[in-house]
């Protein structure tokens, strides 16, 4: 137990749980430390303690450290139930909105969510989460500019599913006129913060 802990605001632990719950990927202790304004050591300690608490309480989920970060996941004991859910309960065809967003990312990567929003005219949030969860797109880098937008690109799984060896093997779009408007929207998307973009007319 650290010195910090005696004076620790209980809200910090709750905030830690909240952030980990909504995270799409494992969250690095360094980022958690920064968000919660506590030391990285304390983050690690709190996470371990939370994990132990969940396990002791017999919850169906656990908090684990993977790939250098912490994340919630289903308890391995319950894999048979999760498998049934994955097989039975999931949507099995890509929507045209998702396919269009995926196509934009494939051809214009890397690009940020607000750039995609500028092209699509609507906020692609929900669609992008699905694509990300399915492993077709991933965060590739952070923009250097102000706001440090997360940039997205396609994954090797995407190439595999599409049956191509590299992204250069996609059919060319250079000869098509609509591309010009996309280039313009891309530039616009860079200048606009995400919540300005989504379809102001709605």
């Amino acid at each position: 137990m650290t010195d910090n802990e005696s004076t620790l605001d209980p809200e910090i632990v709750r905030a830690l749980e909240a952030i980990l719950l909504v995270a799409m990927e494992p969250v690095a202790p360094a980022l958690l430390a920064q968000l919660l304004e506590i030391s990285q050591t304390l983050v690690e300690e709190l996470c371990e303690r939370l994990a132990a608490t969940y396990e002791a309480a017999g919850h169906g989920f656990q908090l684990v450290k993977v790939a250098g970060g912490f994340r919630f996941q289903s308890h391995p004991d319950l894999a048979p139930y999760v498998e049934r859910f994955v097989l039975d309960g999931q949507q099995s065809r890509v929507s045209s909105a998702a396919l269009e967003t995926l196509a934009i990312i494939a051809y214009k990567q890397p690009l940020s969510r607000s750039q995609i929003a500028a092209i699509r005219g609507v906020d692609p949030e929900a669609v992008m989460r699905t694509l990300q969860a399915r492993g077709y797109i991933t965060e590739v880098e952070r923009d250097d500019g102000p706001g440090q937008a997360v940039m997205f690109g396609t994954t090797p799984l995407f190439l595999e599913r599409l049956g191509i060896a590299s992204i250069d093997h996609l059919p060319s779009i250079a000869d098509f006129i609509p591309d010009a408007s996309v280039v313009e929207a891309l530039e616009q998307g860079l200048r606009i913060t995400p919540d300005d973009v989504p379809a102001p007319e709605a």
């Binding site: 799409m24 990927e25 890509v94 995926l102 051809y107 699509r120 093997h169 059919p171 102001p200």
Partner: protein, 256 residues
């Protein structure tokens, strides 16, 4: 960035504007001059960052309806007790009232929706999905998607954003007529110098034509090109051409 979005706390949509004007100033179509409504509207518009064409044209439509209601009473021969006309007038008014009430109802509901949304926004859903060990079980969303289909999806997405189509079907006749009426009326006035509204609409049978000529007169009055006089309510409206011919009659307001 998308030009036709106009939304301020006090102004959003023409019916709302009418509601606003009526509820605030208790605008009485019959007792308060229409030019006051128009002036109030223009003030409202000048406070807005951009002008929404939809809203502007819709306002004109409503203004025309109101003016029509009023001119029915003002125009010669329109108030001499034709029961059918009277009933039609009531019907129109009731329709407008019903629409205004509907509009107010849903405006209030929308503010409750807005509260619900703000509350919902405080929570973020978990959407991470199953861990990678279940990935092989997840149905492949991309099954049957070829590179060519992806290219088509891209081109479809890139080509979207169809230019905003403005519903002209109900607006066009009014818009065209007012612009025309401005010319017609100005031409007549330039020759006659001084006349009456009755004479300006002499021989015009189409009600909407009469309304737009009235609008044209109001516009000319606003531009300071004519002077108006009416000795008594429901009496003749005198129209006097002031002959100021700086840069032609401004008709831009009525051209989309």
């Amino acid at each position: 960035m998308m030009k036709y979005a106009v939304s301020t706390p006090t102004f959003d949509g023409p019916f709302d504007l009418l509601l606003h004007l009526i509820l605030r100033e208790e605008v009485d179509i019959h007792e308060i001059s229409l030019s006051n409504i128009v002036t109030a509207y223009l003030e409202e518009v000048s406070r807005m960052p951009t002008v929404d064409l939809d809203l502007a044209t819709e306002f004109l439509l409503i203004a025309a309806t109101l003016i029509e209601l009023k001119t029915r009473r003002l125009l010669p021969g329109k108030d001499d007790g034709d029961l059918d006309e009277e009933l039609a007038l009531w019907e129109e008014r009731d329709l407008l009232l019903a629409r205004l009430l509907d509009c107010k109802t849903f405006k209030d509901v929308a503010s409750v929706f807005s509260d619900l949304v703000s509350r919902a926004d405080l929570s973020f859903p978990r959407m991470a999905g199953p861990e990678e060990r279940f990935a092989s079980l997840m149905p492949d969303l991309l099954e049957g998607v070829s590179p060519l289909r992806l290219q088509r999806a891209y081109l479809r997405a890139a080509a979207q954003k169809p230019p905003k189509v403005i519903g002209l079907e109900h607006v066009a006749p009014i818009r065209a007529s007012v612009a025309e009426a401005l010319v017609t009326v100005s031409d007549r006035l330039r020759i006659d110098g001084k006349t009456t509204f009755r004479r300006l609409v002499d021989g015009v049978t189409d009600r909407i034509e009469i309304v737009v000529r009235f609008l044209a007169i109001l516009e000319l009055f606003k531009q300071g090109r004519v002077d108006l006089g009416q000795v008594e309510r429901f009496g003749e409206i005198e129209v006097i051409w002031l002959g100021i011919e700086q840069d032609g009659v401004v008709t831009d307001n009525y051209e989309g």
